[in-house]
Symmetry: C2
Subunit: 395 residues, 2 copies
């Protein structure tokens, strides 16, 4: 009835495939690897309860009042200090940080500020579906570029840069969603060598970077401290709480100023109570110690899934071995559709996300995403057993 | 340096004039009528503290986890029940309500879902600047239609509808921002008679409707229960807390479904802790009793400002007499610029918002917005005295 009123952009935007899947997986008998939810262990509930009572006492009406679009200064200051030390970012100040209503809003704001209809955006193949949905609304033309085990395919990147001249690139260098893959140190350097002289804004989204299973050194961002055209996204969703919807963007202050205008028109500012709460938590607790707990659990869950896949899956099914983050990514033999597998698997009460929504313009792909952060070892084993059975029935 | 990368839409969007003004008014010696902040009396701090501890106890991890895009069911159910009774909305169900990150996000989502570049949008003259900024990003062509003391000018409305055929209309029928004006019962009927057969989506934004100073009957929305093309916006910002950023949209469920897709791409969902908190507050307290307290204060503040203006202002300066809400709107003699007055007033340590940002494409208007909800009677009197002095010096 309202078809004629709706905008072209919304008519061209796919509604979320995952949402439909999650409806199916409500059934409690289903073992679901479909979600992308952090394990509740990552919410420091007792500490947050102490913090909320403390900020109510300490700041009174301020935690309920309108506030600034840029975000709470103490929270932005914490981010500046942490990124200077841990991410080795030189020279960043308060003016380089804006708080967003989760990283999803960061994507929306970047879309608003940078994308004209038909602007070309380089993304990984496969890429984060929330980005595809968000930038689609601004009329982006996506160029998906092959992702190898060690990062972007440099030959394909070079070709895409030369022939298509994208204006933006969106990459998830650490424990990528959906594949779980991480760019190697060498690949990061190679990528930067290819893009550094191009007219290209590089967005690096990093919700999972803190969740490294092995305590080896953190890999530097692509072009770290070498490019003013770099935009970094971060989030508290996977290390403290996603329900509070708090993320942030770090970028050149001229870019931040434009994002501020876009944010003002989008929601005025992010929940200020949540900003006081997370800020209080961060200044009064040891975040790294908390993250250790999450990493330990996820590492054991990932191990359980990988071992079960090694044991149960036919040898012509491959999968990534995650070194951090929340996902593994499996590939069925060529020509086998993961949507067909999904329908079969649901009959056996196990669910996952078929690869389709992570690609642009192709369907019935042979890949699928598996989340391991919300089940215990026994459940993971049983789920993978059922999934392997489903695979054997369709290949 | 980034000019060539920025989108056309953001380059065409004015950054907020009010933001610049608020910077000037940081000086504690300035009496500011410039803000639009609710008085802290409207935040039920003690009750919210009880609610936050209760929901932490009762719902545990759920208040920190990812949640649904549509919003918390108990909160949407409360809205349904309240609107059925108080606003006399028939036949609305959960499917007609989506929670937004403040009403500002509601505007952004509606822009995303309905506006193609150069679509015509009818707005009041003057209109809410947050709407102008938000829809500007989607390329709306605004048609400003004269606002009289009793509502929209019907002759001008008729002409605009016939000649320009707007796709959307955005109106604030109760205690409008910036003018404080309210549409009469008769005007509401006349407006609906004009638009009902047109291909027009009518948005009625109502953040101030609960703040009626006199306990006379609530006026019905335009076309209430008579049009599927009506969209209603509501907010908890002016009656509980703006810092939690919670608003909502009530509309036909086909429209809500599209808004849900747009919201998913914009911020996934609104802060779920805040939704549990406000829901718990609403089910365990008497909202109407709380609103009475706010109304009583604002009524006396409005009275103080009106009396001071009657006493101090030259007779060729007119102003609205608010019957609710947070603002009055003054008009200087023709040809006198309120921006010039602003510069003079700042020297005398009193501030307000010049009318310019509430209009499209005109500058140096003779009108100004005055907020009375954040000062006591004595301060209001002194501020108006200073303002009157400034006026006399420039007219």
């Amino acid at each position: 009835m309202f078809e004629k009123y709706f905008s072209e952009r919304i008519k061209n935007t796919p509604s979320s495939f995952i949402r439909e899947i999650l409806k199916v997986t409500q059934n409690p008998e289903i073992i679901s690897f479909a979600g992308g939810l952090p394990n509740p262990i990552s919410f420091p509930q007792e500490e947050l309860k102490i913090s909320m009572n403390r900020i109510a006492q300490k700041f009174g009406a301020k935690i309920y009042q309108y506030s600034t679009t840029m975000g709470l200064e103490s929270l932005r200051e914490y981010i500046v200090q942490r990124y200077k030390i841990i991410q080795k970012m030189e020279n960043i100040t308060l003016d380089n940080v804006i708080i967003t209503t989760g990283s999803q809003q960061a994507l929306d704001l970047i879309g608003k500020v940078f994308i004209n209809k038909n602007d070309k955006v380089l993304v990984e193949k496969p890429s984060y579906l929330g980005l595809l949905q968000s930038f689609c609304l601004y009329g982006a033309d996506f160029i998906q570029t092959k992702l190898n085990d060690d990062g972007l395919d440099i030959n394909e990147l070079k070709k895409v840069l030369d022939e298509q001249k994208p204006k933006l690139a969106y990459l998830i260098p650490n424990f990528q969603n959906p594949t779980g893959l991480t760019y190697s140190a060498q690949n990061r350097i190679s990528v930067f060598n290819q893009i550094k002289d191009k007219d290209l804004i590089l967005i690096q989204d990093d919700p999972y970077g803190e969740l490294r299973f092995d305590n080896n050194e953190r890999l530097p961002y692509i072009g770290l401290n070498e490019s003013e055209k770099n935009i970094y996204l971060g989030s508290f969703s996977k290390i403290i709480t996603p329900g509070m919807r708090l993320g942030y963007i770090i970028a050149n202050k001229e870019i931040i100023k434009m994002l501020e205008t876009a944010k003002q028109a989008s929601d005025l500012h992010s929940n200020i109570f949540a900003q006081y709460l997370i800020s209080d938590y961060l200044y009064n607790n040891d975040l790294d110690k908390h993250i250790e707990k999450i990493k330990k659990l996820y590492k054991s869950q990932a191990k359980a899934m990988v071992e079960a896949m090694q044991k149960e899956f036919p040898s012509n099914v491959t999968f990534t071995i995650p070194k951090g983050g929340m996902f593994s990514w499996a590939s069925l033999p060529d020509g086998v559709s993961s949507v067909d597998l999904f329908n079969k698997a649901i009959e056996k009460n196990v669910a996952f996300v078929p690869g389709d929504p992570f690609y642009v313009g192709i369907n019935n792909v042979n890949t699928l995403r598996l989340n391991y952060t919300n089940a215990d070892d026994k459940t993971i084993k049983e789920g993978i057993r059922r999934l392997a059975e489903s695979i054997r029935e369709i290949i």
